[in-house]
């Protein structure tokens, strides 16, 4: 399975290296593009001390698997790894990892950028932040800027 939903903290770079070793990709890939989303300790000008990521487990898994398949259809990828946290998350903890391997650079770079955009807009996850004024649901994601 190249998509994983984790209820505990993970080390994204360790996950990439481990996946790369077990995926028998050795010497065939020329390009690896990755994106890591990390929890910040502020959002919308408010301090955030922790947050909980709720999701719709069956649909999340289904949707991430579908995204991976779509990416593989659109680009010539050798491998894809998607990991997303759920549950309680603290500042500086990684939330999401997307890594794409390909022979040449454009496939990996474009697929990685596309995957995080699709995931942000459509994967059924919801953030509830805990800050100085208590808990609040994040209303919508930023446009990335």
């Amino acid at each position: 399975m190249a998509t994983q939903l984790l209820a505990y903290p993970f080390d994204p770079y360790h996950s990439i290296v481990e996946h790369q070793q077990h995926a028998a990709l050795d010497k065939q890939f020329g390009a690896t593009a990755s994106f890591i989303g990390t929890m910040r300790d502020f959002n919308d000008n408010t301090n955030v001390s922790s947050m909980v990521l709720e999701h719709y487990p069956e649909m999340t898994q289904h949707y991430l698997d579908k995204l991976e398949q779509q990416a593989r259809q659109k680009w010539d990828l050798l491998d894809v790894l998607i990991i997303h946290r759920v549950g309680r998350i603290n500042p500086a903890n990684p939330i999401v990892l997307i890594a794409c391997w390909s022979a040449h650079r454009r496939a990996a770079l474009d697929a990685c950028a596309w995957l995080i955009e699709e995931l942000k807009h459509n994967a059924p996850f919801w953030k509830k932040e805990t800050g100085q004024d208590g808990e609040r649901w994040v209303e919508k994601n930023t446009d990335g800027f």
Binding site: G37, L53, E54, H55, Y56, E58, M59, H62, Y63, H84, I95, V96, I116, L119, K120, H121, N122, A123, P124, F125, W126, K127, K128, W137, V138, E139, K140, N141
Partner: protein, 75 residues
């Protein structure tokens, strides 16, 4: 047979429903009406039928799973 209905995140809290079942309905909108006691249908609510995005007017059948949730904020 029956239709499984799920609510998530702020909508789950607002409606006070996590999961419920109804006997039957013909559209997702009807599922909403029956499970929320005819609450207004919010414009920004997302609807999923059997784990795929759908609309209020999407058909539903016995055995389906229908979910309602607010805009997603993952990643």
């Amino acid at each position: 047979m029956s239709i499984q209905v799920k609510f998530f995140a702020s909508l789950r809290e607002k409606m006070g429903i996590t999961e419920t079942k109804i006997e039957t309905a013909s559209t997702a909108g009807e599922v909403w009406d029956m499970t929320t006691n005819n609450a207004d249908r919010p414009l920004n609510v997302l609807v999923a039928v059997n784990l795929e995005y759908a609309q209020y007017d999407s058909q539903v059948s016995d055995g389906d799973e229908v979910a309602f949730f607010p805009p997603v904020t993952g990643g």
